[in-house]
Symmetry: D3
Subunit: 237 residues, 6 copies
């Protein structure tokens, strides 16, 4: 039995609250159980230097954790003087995932930054971030559309993400921290509204896993991201 | 008339919500109008090296702003690779202010870190931080007392802070961003529950001010911090 | 047809040259076609602080590229003052991959660092690094065994890695740079000698991919890593 | 009695020596007793990016201490790789103070940097820096005027600064290090030649202080800065 | 007798292998015995900002050591976050030395960067780097000439470098690490094909040396660099 | 004729003023004409980690320039976040030079840091620093001796340094900035009281130089350092 008493294919309670801060063009407070992430989408009329003059825009992401988002206090990266490897890895993943469903030409020569700040962490902060970032991005694009800044559709599909793992021999969906720290295998899946795969990252620090296990995790992820996409649709209405 | 239509001696709507995150020993979401700061108090059984073995504890603070707490996105300090001068100044002020009412010997050889993270900024983030930090600290100390980690009283008094300024010739209480950016003189006051001064920082970037004006600002601040201390007492019940 | 005229399931010319530098306890110059990586294994009788006194050792990796390993010169990270996000991501992957087949208790309280320095880059530097790192690590462990520093077996299996992708609609094995920069989907697989999965990282920057496509890439990867493990066995004789 | 045997309202021996280095457009070696600060004013025909094209100039300050300005050697900030919080706080205060009496439009689109380097520190380095910076700035402006670079008056008033504190129950003027390290309350005042307040920073790390005490310190400061302004006038003749 | 059994005026086995990497405009793998350095010459159509628009080009150098080039592993500078003092000193020396024989006006407004990366270190890495850099630079210039990018001769002479020292009382040529770590005096000479001096750096950490000894070291250096220039000529054919 | 109208073998006006700051164990304000350097010697009862427990002490140096020591303002290294290559090179040279005449065993397990801060720069800051550092160090050792911290002699000889160069075809002694920026060849010599060489660094950015020229520069340097040692003896009396 899972520590949270959930069924193997059961998500944690998920909520996607839009419009939570007053300045951002789009925002979403996403909760996967006790994992809470505040995502803002910031539109800027500038581009990274290497992209200038190509008729395309850019979507990027930054990720951070408040120092006491975790059980014991984590050192503030601004004070340490650099972002750690885990932070860099996660923010690259978020940016890449969102870009996969965005028509950068239709966006025009602008940049949208998705800031994902973890208020409270209980496992799955990167998957919650991606799922919430889609909502913030969609709101930002709606804001732009209402100002006639864009005309053609920019978002091609939904994107949602979830982690799966093998916990005490059983494949389970949406690992919380108690499961994650004990799981043999941990895989993050980013999937579209149509059920296609945008990113899969599966890791075995202990025992390597088989193709069959990978497929079981993928089936759980398809179910979970399907449910998350439904929630995005409800939140966006 | 003030942009917010408040009376000159009127605070913004203030709320102090305790226990807002699950891991911290104490926490407070403080709102001064549209300025929202999440404060956590983290207890650690360690000390800065220069304080070891002296039979005393330490209170320190760190301050940060989420990138989109502001009207236009501010660069993330973790990504810039260092904390800016304003951040450093503010976090030193918060730490100093709280230490002024703490009996460090009664605290014992431990450190409490007050992390003040600005979710949304509309002027007065440092004064809101100090006012909320007192609540988070008080809860952290209550948590310690309930575990018999401390016996003698550690907190000697309340601490609250407010900014005052001369806006279009009139001394006003609790400046919001619209006033702050236009005010001639801006002063932050940190005061105790007994109405004594812990810190006063008055600055005139435009016209210098007189002793009389300083006293008028101080009178407003005494009134404002008195009201904030009342709210702390209500929050802490 | 592939730019290199290889069959879809054909590796580039691979060579694994052992003992290429005189000081390291183990070393391997690995070539996947025009991708050349020098890997050294350095044994140190010290551990990261968080691992001390637990009766276990540690395997870690660092990754770097010589500035002119690439078609145009890349800025030296030592001069830029920090390792980029891509570097951090890759070195974490290498370390994690190798640790998955190492018995850290049998290793004892020591650290082995695998330095992977890319002399020339033509796609697949991370997979070449992992494949070569296994050889360097095996030699380092043999060196330790010959000095009676370890007794029980430390390495539980082989590890090899390869990238696969969908190039112009066809799944192909071991992408070189010309293919990589054009491929729709790019997936890196780290697999054991027994054909189990240690790590899978599949990414679609353009079009998302299906479960069926993932399985085709996995089949190619199993074939490729099987061949690489054979070459490791020949190199290690 | 004060350690230095001074009367409570007595400044240390103050000297303001102009023209002490050959390259700077203005310079002043300021001594408050054993506190010695070398201030240079450097004129540059460039502006911070955020100020360009607004028809205004800028005054900024930087502060540093030679490593052995202090009783025990302090680590060189250039070697530590960053300026500490105290340094940042002080240089922001110096810049702000001088700007309060400068007509930035009359200055034109140029920047003057006031470098304050502490040769020897015995308390009050920031107040000595501000007082000496006024002299260096005035000389720099005279240099510009003699070259017809400016026409309208740029400096509107004098600026001088002094610290006051409550030492063993008595308010005293111009704390030296022996007093500063023991004082209950420490306040720095920056005042104009007309006796108005530009900046007040009062801090109680031990016991909070009353309005009455603040007024007593302010009275001392007015007396002290009045005397310092007299000395500036004599130095500038 | 020298540890390597060489005669006092005998170089180690030297090899200069050209064209060792596929992308660089010029490259050379230089070996002085067990000291192996990979040098690449990278041509870029850009200049440092302070040199723009002056009708001249620039030659610069960067130096690095692979972490396990040394007997015990050296920390990677990219990971330490900065280049050490020794690195900076050496790369400045290499750049200066090569510039001394280059006609920067004939080069045109372009920069050539000489990256010297030490694969294996056994003393004399800076002298090997300079000697090999000349070959890489010459090949880069030949590459440019074959594309009609330059017309007038750019290289005015050969440059080669060697270290000499007083080992157990005897002046010897081309110190290896075993000699270097024990030598009283260590001097590096950079000389032209005509036998003139471009740079001399002689250091006595133990006993100071006399003019006579300096002249003996210089005589050895002239012999050694003469031989190295011969080898450069053979390599370049 | 030299810009300063000095004879080719004439030093600038040199002064060595001892005891110029109140806290340091030794100090010297050294002037070579308009080049002014403040040197302090700081004794600390601690050692760099790699030297602990070997029964020897250490002498090290740090070098800095005040921002307006130069004709145009130079950026403060503390603000830039790192020491430049030139700074690092110079401080390594100063430390090495002084160590060459110190008996580190007789010094005992302590470190003396020589801070050389350039107040005004007109060429030759490194040679002035070395010459002044010897005086500060001698005073620091006298201070230690008077407290019976050392018994055996620690200083074995004098050390002084001077630059020489070929200016418009003529070898000249003690280059000032006007000469230095135009000289063909620039060489710094560090020599002992007995006329032996501790360090020689000769550089030709334009035309390489001959053995004969090197000897002429060396002869000038011997004369110049002889005179500087005389001045050290007079200063130290």
């Amino acid at each position: 039995m899972r520590p949270s008493r959930r069924a193997p294919d059961e998500l944690r309670a998920v909520s996607l609250e839009r419009g939570v801060v007053k300045y951002a063009e789009g925002s979403c407070l996403v909760k996967f159980g006790d994992t809470h992430v505040l995502v803002t989408a910031s539109l800027e009329e500038r581009l990274p230097p290497w992209l200038k003059g190509q008729g395309r825009g850019w979507i990027t992401a930054e990720y951070g954790m408040l120092p006491r988002a975790t059980e014991t206090r984590t050192r503030r990266e601004a004070s340490a003087g650099k972002q750690g490897g885990r932070t860099v890895e996660i923010q690259r993943l978020i940016g890449r995932s969102l870009r996969s469903v965005v028509d950068l030409v239709a966006l025009g020569e602008r940049q949208i930054t998705l800031d994902c700040d973890v208020i409270q962490a209980d496992g799955g902060t990167r998957t919650a971030s991606i799922t919430g970032a889609w909502v913030a991005l969609a709101d930002c694009l709606a804001w732009m559309k209402s100002r006639s800044m864009i005309s053609a559709p920019v978002l091609r599909d939904h994107i949602a993400a979830v982690s799966c793992g093998i916990y005490r021999g059983t494949p389970v969906l949406d690992l919380d921290y108690a499961e994650d720290s004990e799981a043999d295998t941990d895989a993050n899946f980013v999937m579209t509204g149509k059920g296609l795969i945008v990113e899969v990252q599966g890791t075995a620090e202990k025992d390597p896993f088989s193709e069959q296990q990978l497929l079981e995790l993928l089936a759980l992820a398809r179910k979970g991201t399907g449910r998350l996409v439904d929630l995005q649709k409800m939140a966006a209405t």
